[in-house]
Amino acid sequence: MSGRAAGQPRVAVVGVGQSRQAKRRETSIAGLVRESVAGALDDAGLTFRDVDAIVLSKTPDLFDGVMQPELYLADAMGARNLPVTRVFTGGSVGGHAAIYAAHLVQAGLAERVLVVAYSKESEGNFTWALSRPLPFHVSLGAGAGGHFSPVIREYIHRSGAPEHIGWQVAVNHRLNATRNPLAHVQMPDITVEKVRDSPMLWDPVRFLESCPTSDGSAAIVVTGEAEAERISAATGRPPAWVHGMSWRTETGHFAGRDEVNPRAGAECAADAFAQAGITRPADELDAAELYIPFSWYEPIWLENIGLAEAGAGWRMVDSGATAFGGDLPVNPSGGVLSGNPTGATGLVRFAEAAQQVRGLAGEHQVAGARRTVGHAMGGASQFHALWVVGVEKP
């Protein structure tokens, strides 16, 4: 087992904080962020004084109207006199932020990095920010799902998957959410029939196969090996060791691009799995937290990142392998379909993967999870970030 990229110092997640995901009009942006920051520091047994650097993850500032929010949030994040970097790579940003934090530790530039992520779209006009026509583009009136839906249709066309696969994924994730008290969407009585009978929004995508828009925040603390051992001895809570991590980007619009199976996603996963010494991902991983905003993206990403053979991702769903209690539960937290604070959505995937191997996932803990994967993507499936975390030191 090689574990992690050759020669790199070990890094681990030692603290996780998350807010409840919902429409949160009772708190300010700073208050929402502070909830997760305080939670992550408490989990790690640290105070603001212990943090060396902060990385902030956030989706477009036009969503809630605050430009460069790292400035306004400096006080809420405890950032005074600290280095703060605000990364932005579309929806994958939370994953990029976590990886950048790990890089800062590995580079010897920080010992304890706080990664903060949030979105408070109820604060602004999200639909306006997303649906404003781009200059020089004809307004097609397609809406957010109008981008992903044709890609889904192409996947179905290529794979020959039956239509109930999308319904089943929606049921799996919503049932998972009933075991996660922080999840926005709580539908304990969901069934395949209810998904099938829900309104068609962007054919072939139905209402219950789509993600919500949520307010929410998340924060994690990333440290090096010695610090992780010290903290875990002090708190009695184990670290999640990073076994492999990677990011990849590809241009969105060039002639001949495959958006159903983007090469950047495949190469990103292959790189992280190679670092982790993983050769049979589906067998060697115990759970996956994937960025699935519409139910059909479960089979699409399973294939893209190598958890299933090309064209066979839907069979994995159909077999029940990805449901809670299956061989490879996908999104035991309920996933993006059950809560979507866009700026934090990617970091929540990375954090939930960590909580599983720390054994701290509560009611949605996957029994015996030893190694898990956290995944985030953004843009027109152009930006990809992924990490593998585990119980054992890599």
């Binding site: 009136g141 068609m200 929004l201 054919d203 619009h253 002639a255």
Partner: protein, 181 residues
């Protein structure tokens, strides 16, 4: 003498404040995009080929996004193509131009390699298929503008597949520059 304030003396807490703001922007089309936009105003599809990889773009940027080579001068393509994938928009939302359901497709225009997104109309949504041949329907000449809105929509090339256009579509789309300003 004043007594100490108690909670009942205080006004209702402020739960939210409205702070709308407005920013006016000038957008710059750029040299490459201007070529295609001018073509639109003239009722022509102007595509450009990459001398590096041979791919043909419509709409074309100034350089190939995959090999960074400057594209060749524009040449006209017919604008016909095939549906590579599509979705049927069933969701009503504010500011919508058409009454759902309507079809938005990824189109492969003949002779090009990148995808163009546009509406597919004059067809029952249920009759649209991947691979279906389509042709452009231009707005009346007086309404041509430097925008893809000069092409009102695409429709099946095969007349047998066509269905009448919903009535409400025509006036909404005919507003010059409306949706795209």
């Amino acid at each position: 003498m004043s007594r100490a304030l108690v909670a009942a003396d205080l006004p209702e807490p402020v739960a939210t404040i409205a702070a709308p703001f407005r920013v006016d922007y000038t957008y710059v089309a750029g040299v490459g995009r201007s070529t295609y936009l001018r073509g639109m105003a003239e009722g022509r599809f102007l595509a450009r080929e990459c001398p590096g990889c041979g791919q043909v773009y419509f709409p074309a940027p100034e350089q190939c996004a995959r090999c960074l080579t400057g594209l060749l001068p524009p040449s006209e393509i017919p604008g016909t193509g095939t549906v590579s994938t599509f979705c049927i928009v069933n969701l009503p939302f504010p500011g919508q131009l058409f009454t759902p359901p309507y079809v938005v497709g990824h189109l492969n225009l003949d002779g090009t390699g990148n995808r163009l997104m546009h509406r597919i109309m004059e067809v029952e949504p249920a009759d649209v298929t991947v691979g279906m041949a389509v042709e452009p329907v231009w707005a009346p000449r007086a309404e041509w503008e430097p925008s893809l809105a000069s092409v009102r929509y695409f429709r099946p090339t095969d007349p047998a597949l066509r269905a009448p256009l919903p009535a409400e579509v025509v006036p909404a789309e005919a507003a010059p520059g409306g949706a795209d300003a």
